[in-house]
């Protein structure tokens, strides 16, 4: 408590002198070398020895460059207790009293340690942290390059206010029932294209099931629908599917493509994110509960600034931590990570390629380079937080218990080190005697006589032999081997005691990957010339796309630990005047229902994107989306907790209402077949005269196979599963493993959504069938047709296993009669009866072949009809 009071006090003091300092910065700079204050000396030591990792790179979340950073400490807590050097962890580390010893692999000179000791003892003052102030002063005096926008740029369609148009009146009454039809029909009529006829109910139910749940309907569901005489049978079907929990699973996957979700960090270490799935489950839940889209945006961008007490809102901020990590530290690494967040956020929510403006003004769109850095200023203050999903007292108890045990371990570890010391010395001498002569000479030369190079080499020898766990030059085992029987026993006892205490350490409590900030007044963000961290320009204020307008960033409340900049951005995005947000999202829904968006470049509404095929319809849908008063909202979704997050109009921003609107249109219910006359006029089907046929996604092909084989475990949510991957595909590398279970292990029979997405080890079926690369935001999947896909469905063990299961199911459900088996198989796999041709062909294939039935089942999995949605 006292400490916190102190911090507040200090922070208050720091900011004011900092401002005052700006005025004198240039003058004082020169005086530095002559009479540096204690703080200035301390700053220099930290700068030279620590900033490499604990600067912009924020290793262990510790940033020693600023007053706030030093006081805040790192992920393991405070590092400085002002006034008490011995109690400060930073001091314990640099004096090598505690591990990890710092800086890694060396020790500060005694003089430097003494300076830091005095500095902490004197209260760890920050008046000398001048270079930052100097830099800020210089940068802020420079002018931000702002190129003016032309009228044409400002007038570009995507930046115009969304306009309400009255749907055109069609002559055919049935086309006026749903405004979507009215718009589309008018366009068709103008071009002389005839709409396709309505599809039969079997086609419709399969289409609706695959679109909304990603699973084929069962024969019983098909029959019930086909025989339902009610006039609203189709509408009831859509409502039922929208209420299915599998709806959330299906549509979460589309969202995860956009936000490049994965369960590991990629790059060299590709570190797993064992609790990453909580974000995935959050998305599923949001879709299932029909969370209003504006709330969905608010929670993901700024859940911590709206509702820090809500676990869901905190989990949602995990959105900001989904990108790859481990590509390099330092300023550049941080810049790349922020770029990734800005790129993904702007593609996903704005349909704008803001990432293109990192190094220069956008080449095609009115996005200034300064816009990029203004938006960067929104995200720059963020830092990762592992949000505990247990009550604070549980966390406190956990920390206390861990500390208690570590305190008990400390003397034991010290005793162990002391016991090992003489043996280690002996082993080191032996190892040195095997080194090249010049190294031995360096070692033997007295310390004060060593040349600079010899000093380096001796330091290296020490580090390598005594300290280096990586190359394992001298291991515990080597040391113990030399010990006397008595010491060996002592050593063994110590190790046993330390380990026993390790086992007593409490198990980690569940956490969510979340985002937080450290202060309501974050450090300035700078414009970077050519995008280079080495070419800092003026400081920038947070902002948005200036071509659309400015954003009023809220003032954080008095006690806030956050800048509320992200909340400002979220408010700007979800403001109904924003011309992009609703258009972009309804277009995405449209794309997944109709194969292509009304704008066929769904994440690029800029100049290099495509123009909307039906601009009035797009606007009409966008307005309906924001203000709709129709729909199928679930009762339970009205009970979601955070009132500040909810739109005032309870029906607004409902995704389910939009699904229902789109799917109950006549256009959605048309057949997919060719009409020669139409092909001649509109070969790309831009007028939507037929329902496009779309290859199912990798995950849905797998899910459909499992469902049809009767093997699908429909459990919702939770940790990921690991189906089998041929080890030859990832090979035994120390850093990459895949604990795959065999195909007959029921734990793997979950939906594809739950398969662990490891960035360096892709599940082959997914990779081959165009699952996006888990690294870039994906607006629209490629749909390629290649031979390896055929090989996989022909020969892969998973497919073969499920075909056998399917065959077993047929024997059980249809008996031994081949004709009945075929009938049932077609109903299960395709939702229809086989044709006479199919009956004859398949019966001939099955009969007289002991494995014929399973092979037939596998053939069904390979049919075009099976892997395409009509």
């Amino acid at each position: 408590m006292q400490l916190r009071k102190y911090c507040k006090l200090r922070l208050g003091i720091v900011t004011l002198p900092l401002l005052a300092f700006l005025l004198f910065a240039f003058h004082t700079d020169a005086k530095w070398a002559q009479q540096p204050t204690l703080s200035q000396q301390a700053y220099k030591i930290l700068q030279q020895n620590c900033f490499g990792c604990h600067g912009a790179a924020k290793a262990s979340e510790l940033d020693l460059r600023t007053a706030e950073g030093v006081l805040a400490g790192g992920e393991n807590g405070k590092v400085i207790v002002p006034g008490d050097a011995q109690a400060s962890r930073l001091f314990q580390f640099i004096t090598h009293q505690e591990k990890p010893t710092m800086p890694p692999g060396k020790k500060l000179s005694d003089a430097d340690i003494e300076t830091l000791r005095q500095w902490i003892a004197a209260g760890a003052l920050f008046d000398g942290f001048a270079p930052l102030a100097v830099e800020a002063a210089k940068a802020e005096t420079a002018k931000l390059p702002e190129r003016p926008f032309t009228d044409a740029e400002r007038g570009f369609w995507a930046f115009q206010a969304i306009k309400r148009t009255t749907p055109p009146r069609a002559t055919l009454a049935s086309w006026n029932r749903n405004p979507i039809d009215a718009f589309l029909f008018a366009a068709m009529k103008a071009k002389g294209v005839k709409p396709s006829p309505k599809a039969d109910r079997r086609t419709l139910i399969r289409r609706a099931y695959l679109d909304l749940t990603g699973l084929p309907p069962t024969p019983e569901e098909v029959a019930a629908f086909v025989n339902d005489k009610a006039p609203d049978a189709y509408e009831k079907l859509i409502d039922r599917l929208l209420a299915s929990p599998h709806y959330g699973e299906r549509w979460a996957r589309h969202w995860l493509d956009l936000v490049r979700y994965a369960d590991s960090g990629g790059f060299e270490f590709d570190v797993d994110r064992p609790e990453g799935w909580r974000y995935r489950d959050y998305v599923v839940k949001a879709f299932n509960e029909d969370m209003p889209y504006d709330q969905f945006i608010r929670e993901q961008l700024a859940g911590d600034e709206y509702a820090p007490e809500s676990d869901d809102a905190m989990i949602a901020t995990g959105f900001l931590r989904l990108g790859p990590e481990g590509g390099g530290g330092g300023e550049r690494g941080r810049q790349d990570a922020l770029d990734d967040v800005i790129t993904t956020t702007s593609l996903t929510f704005m349909g704008m390629t803001v990432g293109c403006a990192r190094c220069h003004d956008h080449k095609f769109d009115p996005i200034r380079q300064s816009d990029f850095y203004r938006i960067q200023a929104v995200f720059a203050p963020t830092r990762p937080v592992n949000h505990p999903l247990v009550k604070p007292d549980v966390v406190a108890a956990h920390q206390a218990e861990t500390r208690r045990i570590e305190t008990q371990q400390r003397p034991l570890k010290k005793a162990k080190d002391e016991l090992e010391a003489p043996y280690l010395k002996m082993l080191v001498e032996e190892a040195v005697s095997r080194l090249p002569e010049y190294m031995q000479i360096a070692w033997r030369t007295p310390e004060d006589k060593r040349t600079a190079g010899q000093k380096l080499n001796v330091q290296q020898i020490r580090k390598t032999l005594e300290d280096d766990t990586l190359s394992m030059k001298l291991t515990d085992k080597d040391i113990v081997a030399r010990m006397s029987a008595e010491d060996k026993q002592k050593h063994q006892d110590l190790v046993t005691q330390i380990r026993a205490l390790d086992r007593q350490k409490p198990k980690p409590y569940p956490t969510a990957r979340a985002i937080g900030e450290m202060s309501a007044k974050p450090a300035p963000t700078h414009f970077l010339h050519r995008g280079s961290a080495d070419a800092k320009g003026p400081a920038v204020q947070p902002g948005v796309l200036s071509v659309i307008g400015e954003c009023d960033f809220p003032t954080p409340p008095a006690n806030a630990k956050s800048s509320f900049r992200r909340r400002g951005l979220a408010e700007w995005l979800t403001n109904k005047q924003n011309p992009l947000t609703a258009r972009v999202m309804v277009n995405r829904l449209w794309q997944h229902h109709f194969g292509e968006g009304l704008v066929r470049t769904p994440s690029n509404f800029g100049k290099m994107g495509e123009l909307p095929t039906h601009p009035e319809l797009l606007d009409w849908l966008a307005l309906e989306f924001m203000n709709a008063d129709f729909g199928v909202r679930n009762a339970e979704s009205a009970t979601t907790p955070h009132s500040t997050l909810r739109a005032p109009h309870s029906q607004a921003w409902s995704l389910k209402a939009m699904h229902r609107l789109m799917m109950t249109s006549q256009v959605y219910q048309m057949v997919s077949d060719d009409i020669a006359a139409n092909v001649a006029i509109d070969p790309e089907n831009k007028l939507l005269w037929r329902m496009p046929r779309v290859r199912l996604e990798a995950e849905i092909i797998r899910d459909a196979i499992l469902a049809v084989a009767g093997n699908l475990d429909r459990t919702l949510g939770g940790p990921c599963v690991y189906p089998y991957i041929d080890p030859k595909l990832f090979q035994s590398s120390t850093k990459r493993t895949w604990p795959g279970k065999p195909d007959d292990d029921p734990s793997t029979w979950r939906r594809s959504l739950y398969i662990f997405s490891k960035r360096s080890i892709r599940y082959p079926l997914f990779e081959t069938f165009d699952q996006p690369n888990l690294i870039n935001s994906c607006e629209r999947r490629n749909r390629s047709t290649i031979a390896p896909q055929a090989l996989l469905l022909m020969n892969n063990n998973f497919v073969l296993f499920e075909a056998q299961k399917f065959a077993e199911r047929l024997r059980k459900e249809a008996g031994a009669d081949v004709a009945k088996q075929i009938e049932r198989a077609y109903q299960l796999a395709l939702g229809r009866a086989p044709s006479a041709f199919e009956r004859t062909k398949t019966a001939k294939f099955i009969q007289g072949n002991p494995t014929g039935l399973a092979e037939f089942c596998q053939a069904l999995f390979n049919l075009n009809e099976f892997v395409y949605r009509q």
Binding site: G105, G266, F267, E268, F269, P324, G327, G328, C356, L435, P436, Y438, M439, I441, N457, Q460, T464, S471, K473, R600, N604, G606, M608, G609, S672, D674, A676, P692, R693, R695, K728, Q731, S733, K735, R736, I761, N773, N776, C778, N782, R783, S784, T785, I786, P788, A790, L791, M794, N795, N796, E838, T842, F845, T851, F856, A859, N862, L863, N864, V867
Partner: protein, 470 residues
């Protein structure tokens, strides 16, 4: 849109790009304007005439020490154990820089050109006059992950298509019964970053590298399971085709559906072609010996090099072989005990690489095949962990040989110690531009539209390294 103003290559690239492209190509197909629209890997013409048609890339994963192989530095012995000074900041990735460490190996001049190569590569050295050696290569990152990505995809960040993807995207493949881009990894493990090293990034799956296994079937899921005879499989494929064709009858103009039917025929043929392509038992004893097959320590890499030749011979566009795998000792990442590490890896690869050059020459394939040799970066002239070398991205050696390459060339130089490229400094962008150029592709014109940008292998950078062109 007037279809006639598109070249066939543009159309096909559009075809690879999406369903809109497919529909468009479909229309043209029916108008007889576009033959072979079925496969995104159909061969496409070069932008301009160039000799090289295929690439064999040898990736010494972990990072090869330039000062112990292709860039002799007598100063290291002269100043052994002393600090490296006068070269600017010394960056040691793993910390604890030591003094200058002499190479344990001797260098000698080789060939007409007098290229100095160390005794680690006695066989390759015999081909000094075939090599275009760049001693001034630089990379952007001294960490394996980003550096591997940069060497393989041009960007230090993940998510971009690899060079092999760009080349197969640009040129297609000459043999539709085999993947166009094939990858061999080391028996000790694949490189870190995993599959994204040969990934298609944002391109369609057709352009991803296909890893070939070292034993059994080359491709995962290539062959039917035990117990299913070829006759059974053919019968099964016939049934599938008949059912699919019946379905197609209702949509005769859907080229995607017919392409998918066709893909099963390709898959079937791939089973025999892929197996045959790597069946080195069909090679003479003399040829096998040339690659060091059947002897240690060259057998494993030798087999892969020989398979690479067989694949290129069959029209595969891009073959990449990774030497070294996993982490530290099993790769070229000699953080300690450089002598054992590089001694081992060079001994494994020297003879097979020389054998590959000789074999390609004797078959008249050397002029149409581009051979690349490189790691993701080089190593420091100073010691690390007493007898190893740390990463160095500021100056290292790579070489090219074969189609269109001017042999016996040395480009650029590093400083006195081999630390920093100081003369005629080159970047990986330039290396990539040069690779594309040697294959007859204009690195500025080979683009792929993604998220609103025409992406390029070399981004907004690059320049062809003219010095290495014949």
């Amino acid at each position: 849109m007037n279809p006639n103003c598109f070249s066939r290559r543009q159309l096909l690239s559009k075809l690879g790009g999406g369903i809109a492209g497919v529909a468009f190509a479909d229309l043209l197909n029916r108008n007889g304007l576009l033959a072979q629209s079925k496969s995104p890997l159909a061969p496409k013409p070069q932008h301009f005439a160039a000799k090289a048609k295929a690439v064999i890339s040898i990736f010494c994963y972990g990072g090869v020490s330039q000062v112990d192989t292709f860039d002799p530095k007598p100063a290291l012995l002269k100043y052994q154990g002393e600090t490296m000074t006068g070269v600017g900041e010394v960056r040691a990735t793993m910390g604890t820089p030591g003094g200058l460490m002499p190479s344990p190996w001797q260098f000698k001049k080789h060939g007409q050109c007098g290229m100095e190569i160390s005794e680690l590569f006695p066989h390759v050295a015999q081909h000094a006059d075939d090599l275009a050696l760049i001693r001034s290569m630089t990379a952007l990152s001294p960490a394996h992950g980003p550096a591997l990505f940069q060497m393989n995809t041009g960007s230090i960040l993940a998510g971009h298509p690899s060079v092999g993807s760009w080349v197969t995207y640009g040129l297609g493949s000459e043999n539709e019964n085999l993947p166009g881009f094939i990858v061999f990894t080391d028996h000790r493990g694949g490189p870190i970053n995993g599959a994204p090293n040969w990934g298609n990034g944002y391109m369609p799956a057709a352009f991803q590298g296909t890893p070939f296994r070292d034993s059994g079937d080359p491709i995962v899921d290539l062959h039917p399971p035990k117990g299913r005879t070829p006759e059974q499989q053919q019968k099964w494929l016939r049934l599938l085709r008949e059912l699919n064709e019946k379905h197609l009858d209702q949509n005769p103009q859907d080229s995607e559906l017919s392409a998918r039917i066709h893909s099963y025929e390709l898959a079937f043929r791939m089973q025999t072609h892929a197996t045959d392509a790597i069946d080195i038992s069909k090679e003479s004893a003399a040829t096998q010996k040339l690659y060091g097959v059947g002897e240690q320590p060259t057998d494993y890499f030798g087999r892969q090099a020989l398979m690479a030749r067989r694949l290129v011979e069959r029209g595969v566009r891009y073959v990449q072989i990774f030497s070294g795998g996993g982490n530290f000792e099993p790769s070229w990442d000699a953080h300690w005990d450089l002598k054992t590490n590089h001694g081992q890896h060079c001994a494994e690869t020297d003879k097979p690489i020389a054998g590959l050059i000789k074999d390609l020459k004797s078959r008249g394939l050397f002029d149409s095949t581009l051979i690349l040799w490189h790691g993701e970066f080089g190593r420091l002239p100073i010691s690390e962990r007493m007898d190893g070398r740390d990463h160095n991205a500021l100056g290292f050696s790579v070489w090219l040989a074969g189609g269109g390459v001017k042999g016996g060339t040395i480009v650029g130089a590093t400083d006195e110690y081999g630390y920093r490229a100081v003369e005629n400094k080159k970047t990986i962008y330039e290396l990539h531009a040069t690779i594309l150029h040697l294959l007859g592709l204009d690195y500025e014109k080979l683009t792929y539209r993604f998220n609103g940008r025409d992406m390029r292998l070399t981004d907004v950078h690059g320049r062809v390294i003219k010095e290495v062109l014949a």
